[in-house]
């Protein structure tokens, strides 16, 4: 499916011809999201470090009490959401650069998605469970 197969007189627009090409088949959206999530994590870094400092040396009861507070939970949820998305895109770029076997590449990208979603969901579940106090 190369762009050169297109006949000279085509109804397809130049944008339509290049869309879905490239290693990721997804244009520049991943590039942009990589940067949004990067900026988000940079802005969240100081609050996250403060939360970690608050938790140091405390037992589970003390830690659970801090983690269940609404601002702490929201900051951590935002950070985890941004991290999971950022690392999913980053690892996909690495896979696309170094894994050249097409099937292995697709399997790797799939496993990368599973891992990133699992990390996000497990962390989110834990924080919500702490927040609901059950």
């Amino acid at each position: 499916m190369s762009a050169t197969d297109t006949p000279k007189r085509s109804m397809r627009t130049p944008l339509g011809r290049v869309r879905n090409l490239g290693a990721a088949h997804s244009g520049t959206s991943d590039f942009w999201r990589q940067r949004i999530t990067g900026v988000a994590m940079t802005l969240l870094m100081i609050p996250v470090l403060v939360i970690i400092m608050m938790l140091l040396g405390r037992n589970q009861v003390g830690a659970a009490q801090i983690l269940s507070s609404i601002p702490v939970a929201v900051i951590l949820l935002l950070f985890i959401f941004a991290s999971a998305w950022h690392m999913k895109i980053g690892m996909q770029v690495v896979i696309e650069d170094y894994v050249h076997n097409e099937k292995l590449k697709l399997v790797s990208i799939m496993l990368n998605n599973f891992f990133s979603v699992a990390v996000a969901l497990a962390s989110t579940y834990a924080i919500l469970k702490l927040s609901s106090g059950v």
Binding site: R35, G38, V39, M41, T42, M45, L49, I52, M53, L56, G57, R58, N59, Q60, V61, A63, A64, L67, L76, I80, S83, A84, M87, G90, M91, V94, V119, A122, S123, Y125, A126, I127, K129, L130
Partner: protein
């Protein structure tokens, strides 16, 4: 590849990827910690015992550095994305800044952590 003369920016480009991969794998520790906190005192005590051990401390120290370095190196990329800092001396300065800044922030964070955590 032999035709390339290795430059600082090239080496640091690899380090940016390597720290990214390390941070990726390290999220397992973050998940373990949060799930343990949600599970109960026994599970949380396991995490604390691991994090307090020599190996655990080394891993978390390495993780702190990977995070700080990757963040500063990423900010360097933002500067480039915005179209600044492409002159040879600017590239070098940004790269050295990320390298030294990452180490300084890591040590600073651990000093504060010991000052606070040690008091509890």
């Amino acid at each position: 590849m032999q035709v390339y003369r290795w430059t600082l920016t090239m080496a640091l480009s690899i380090v940016h990827r390597a720290t990214g991969i390390a941070l990726y794998v390290g999220t397992l520790l973050l998940v373990w910690w949060l799930v343990a906190a949600a599970s109960g005192p026994a599970a949380y005590a396991h995490v604390q015992a691991f994090a307090g051990s020599i190996i655990g401390r080394l891993i978390v120290f390495g993780y702190t550095w990977a995070l700080m370095h990757h963040m500063l190196s990423g900010i360097r990329h933002f500067v480039w994305d915005l179209g600044y800092g492409f002159k040879a001396n600017e590239r070098e300065a940004l790269t050295w800044g990320a390298l030294i800044g990452g180490i300084v922030l890591t040590v600073l964070i651990w000093i504060i952590a010991y000052a606070i955590g040690g008091g509890r």
